[in-house]
Symmetry: C4
Subunit: 201 residues, 4 copies
Amino acid sequence: MNKARFEAFSDGVFAFAITLLILGIVLPAFKTPPSESELRGALLALWPNALAYALSFAVIGIMWQNHHALFRMVERVDRRMVFLNLLLLAGTVFIPFATSVLGTYPWMHTSTFLYGIVLTYTATIYNVMLEHLIRTHAFLREISPATIRDTVKAYKIGWSIYVLAMLLALVAPIVSFAAYIFVTLYYLVPHGVDRDLETSR
Amino acid sequence: MNKARFEAFSDGVFAFAITLLILGIVLPAFKTPPSESELRGALLALWPNALAYALSFAVIGIMWQNHHALFRMVERVDRRMVFLNLLLLAGTVFIPFATSVLGTYPWMHTSTFLYGIVLTYTATIYNVMLEHLIRTHAFLREISPATIRDTVKAYKIGWSIYVLAMLLALVAPIVSFAAYIFVTLYYLVPHGVDRDLETSR
Amino acid sequence: MNKARFEAFSDGVFAFAITLLILGIVLPAFKTPPSESELRGALLALWPNALAYALSFAVIGIMWQNHHALFRMVERVDRRMVFLNLLLLAGTVFIPFATSVLGTYPWMHTSTFLYGIVLTYTATIYNVMLEHLIRTHAFLREISPATIRDTVKAYKIGWSIYVLAMLLALVAPIVSFAAYIFVTLYYLVPHGVDRDLETSR
Amino acid sequence: MNKARFEAFSDGVFAFAITLLILGIVLPAFKTPPSESELRGALLALWPNALAYALSFAVIGIMWQNHHALFRMVERVDRRMVFLNLLLLAGTVFIPFATSVLGTYPWMHTSTFLYGIVLTYTATIYNVMLEHLIRTHAFLREISPATIRDTVKAYKIGWSIYVLAMLLALVAPIVSFAAYIFVTLYYLVPHGVDRDLETSR
């Protein structure tokens, strides 16, 4: 499998999934033409949808960066990786659905738990991908073992926080929602993989 | 026709079609705010849609890989191939529709048969494409006749199973659905084209 | 403006517009779970939508090929061309809407006329683009004046037929619909630009 | 971050966002098959949606060109820029929603103000991006300080007009709508960045 075409296809799916998020924000239909205050009220009532939109935009944006950072260190892509990548993309494309449920029912156990399942799922696949890359020695020569160790650690921490946030949904949905935002902000700061590459450049 | 732009356009359509699959999973609207158990119930009731989503994600993913594997062996793309490719893409883009019908009415003759028509159609086009490539000697020199023979065989087997699964829909929709999943898993394992290229690398 | 990025953006819009066509085929919701014959009936009743889908898939596919064939002959893209290209893409993206109207009300004057307006609009822009390229001497040196003349002629013929088909919609919608299919088939056969390049290769 | 992949991802999002605009034009469902004049009436009643579509198509088209023109002058893309770019894209993807609100309720304070917020937001991010590029000396060597100064000025003027048009929405929605069209037309004319590069080529 040609790495460039593999990345281009993945980028296409990431870009498309991130754009489909907007379909989760829908203005309810009015039976009669609304007054200014009715329209304003209906728009303002969409703030949880807008918050879920912003969260998931950051989540998919980070996943894309992550994908990029990971495969920049990789020399070749085998068939098993293509399969794992499809599993990852299937989870990513599911995010717009989970986001629209979260935005519509923001403070419910069910919707925050569903959101957690999807993020835990994608984080799990990222960990499996990393393991597969290590086992098949697929990394470029110039990537130091320390960098790989750092990446493994960072991936495990991320995964743990997602699991925790998902479980929190069973107890306190609002705290869970806040935790998703926290992890997302945590990932916006460089660590592991990227730091190394940025230094080495 | 420039092969790179031909592939990029095809990749774009595959990536969009695979992402549009998510629009087949829609949470029904509630008249009054749902309770936790109502929301959970409504989400769990979507499991056939989720299954159809996963199946079609794999189907389109494999078709994309297939496209990739085929055209990696090809030297040039003529106008007739562009036309055949459009026929293929039109079938691919139809998959999200057939998937949403399958997910909504999973155990009916009509929906499993419709799904079978679409997959048989795309498999037929792939066979016609292969024939056209052979007839016009469009393969790269380094591709051995044995590889081409293997590919022809693999394509014919795939096509036959799809036809069989489609016909099964007339008798036993559930068995037909299971057969689609079986063929899809079969294609996730390398054969013909790819094996050769992977060895030769 | 970098020609490669200009083409990549256009390709993205063409690929996305062609994929959105599938949203014009929607199975009506059933109030109670449908019987096999009800579901089959509802699906078969969508045949005009499927026909309009196939037509527009071919139309956008040809427009993409045309775009490709035209800009392969071009040396550079100026700001005015970027503007004309935006006008062209705006018309292309409009096609899924016109297609869904045509598929839903296939034999009405209004819907076939609307479809004709959109196709005439895009054909007009293509003619303006060609004129602009000629006026600014933007063609590659190796393109012969004869090829350009042939292309101009082919564009004018295409435009005339679209106008005619559009006007036919005012009198006989079915004949107009058939004419769209005729023009589309006509354009699937190589002429002008492509013939020359294919020979010269 | 590889600049080419950064641009490709951005281009993908611009192309998808511009195509999603068409979903803002929806023909209302008829309870009984419409007569010719009813269908014509329903289509003609969509003219504000079509106007909003054309406006936003131009807006996103210009933003894409702008992105292109800006990053053509840039040598490297750091992590902070990737973050700013995500903020920009999140605003861009929001445009189809704001457009569908504007097209449905074209002469209301609320919808023209919402549209203004989104455009002011994206214009603000563009200004922050430019500042960041200047502060981190990220421009290519051959870009003259005069060009950068011109660009800063052009960005500030654009931002000011958007703010003004947004505030006008509070007083006179129609004038605000007209102002959006005016700014858009203003940006279709080359200035700053592009002029310099076009001359230097």
